[in-house]
Symmetry: C2
Subunit: 295 residues, 2 copies
């Protein structure tokens, strides 16, 4: 049964891992009459074209959003403000603008002030990803069984929220609505701090003398490996996340550092019971993750 | 072509993830005329029996090693000293004793002094594992393509080293010989510190209020998930590793903490270039891990 597309014309601004995966979903599900892919770099556009991800390709955001009833911002967070300012005069009345950024308070602060009256901004965060980046890294099952968090400020048009939600549902996601500040605190511990720690330990290894470094790589399967995977994520995207979510990240990092100092002390003083107690408690959390089918 | 077994009688003391995986390899490869599985706990022995991992089952280490030409210690490190003392009088002349512990200096200190003249102790560390533990968690391909590090002290019988090496080769491993102190330093950063950090951050989450904790579990796929997996490893085994490898772990932890403090400062002061530089350098290490086929 052929379905009416959810949107007539969708502009994807940024066509990396998330944008290109969404493009694949749009095609698979027939969600858009027409899709425009917009990227700043020629190589990215060329790759998107080669993969046949959209109907049109452009490096001009203003042209991309003209006539679109949905605009999806999928660039690093640091580009949001200038981008919102650039596209604002070209947005069609009634258009919906959404984003996929990992920090929501900063996204709203960067985008909302530029939005013309009658344009609906629905901040969003599909919580899915891999350590790979770029249009070639995308795949249409990336969002399957994952959560999509929407953080519409009070007064956001309910119909606009529902249309964005429906798009992500068709991508296989389950929708959660929450406040932007709460989102940023939860993601600080569940995603941002793990990345910061992984980047740190891999950096610690990168500073070891060459001979030891080679050995660490050789025996990476004993634990280090998982950290290198996380620390292979896109550098610019992650720089922007930490800059944009500074306070929640610093707060969680403070808690972590205190806990690490306590464990360091337990190792130094041979307090085996402190170690074994903690190591037993952490198994419970793992069980929770497995039960929540997020393992 | 039927092969002569490498050993007539092998005693596996401890039949957890490593011991039970080795038992499966011994059977698959026909490496032993007779295998005795020894465990302290009745449930473990019962599980081993149900799985048909050995020819004999006992909770008496002294009886298990009697007449064995190879004894493999696969218990947590903290049990080594008492165990070595218990089995020493019952070891056959010319027998080889090896272990699978993750810390080698402490293993040698605990075991070597008890070894009778004419018994050969070959300290070993098959660098392989999963976060699961117990006899049911084992599987015969666990060691495939991984490294086995042997750290024989100067003067160790070369033939004994070679026979232990051959057993692990038949399990699919590649052998490295290195000094125990060097092993402990490399493993401190590649394995022990990653585990300590993973345990810490999962513990930090376990201390959050229940509501936030539930959400962290829900969105675990965004990074936290990998840490919960690592932090699900066996508590007693890991307690013993940290107690046994204290100095190298504290040294690497010191480096890590300094690096984390520097990153914390970069986040606080919005030093985006410091962050992006590090995040770019860490990608190189990931490339190394992939090229070394340890990803």
């Amino acid at each position: 049964m052929p379905q009416t597309p959810l949107f007539d014309r969708i502009a994807l601004i940024g066509i990396g891992l998330i944008g290109s995966s969404l493009a694949r979903v749009l095609r698979r599900e027939g969600l858009a009459g027409h899709v425009v892919a917009c990227a700043r770099r020629a190589e990215t556009l060329e790759a998107a074209r080669r993969l046949g991800l959209a109907d049109d390709y452009t490096d001009d955001p203003a042209g991309a959003v003209a006539g679109a009833d949905l605009v999806v911002l999928g660039t690093p967070l640091g580009a949001y403000g200038a981008l919102a300012e650039t596209i604002a005069p070209h947005l069609a009345p009634g258009a919906i603008v959404t984003d996929v950024g990992s920090v929501k308070v900063a996204a709203i602060e960067a985008i909302a002030p530029h939005m013309p009256k009658g344009v609906h901004f629905v901040p969003g965060h599909p919580v899915a990803g891999t350590e790979r980046s770029g249009p070639e890294a995308g795949f249409d099952s990336l969002f399957d069984g994952r959560w999509c968090i929407l953080t519409p400020p009070p007064g956001t048009d309910a119909d606009a929220v529902e249309r964005v939600a429906e798009m992500w549902r068709r991508a296989g996601m389950t929708i959660e609505i929450m406040e932007a500040t709460h989102h940023d605190r939860v993601l600080a511990i569940t995603s941002h701090l793990p990345h910061l720690i992984a980047y740190t330990i891999v950096g610690t290894v990168a500073d070891l003398e060459q001979a030891t470094q080679r050995e660490v790589v050789k025996y990476a399967a004993s634990g280090f490996r998982d950290f290198t995977r996380i620390a292979a994520s896109d550098p610019v995207m992650w720089r922007d996340i930490f800059l944009a979510n500074r306070e929640p990240v610093l707060e969680m990092l403070g808690r972590f550092s205190e806990d690490l100092a306590r464990l360091q002390r337990a190792v130094r003083w041979g307090e085996g019971d402190v170690l074994a107690d903690l190591f037993t408690r952490t198994r419970e959390i793992r069980r929770g993750v497995i039960e929540a089918k997020q393992a």
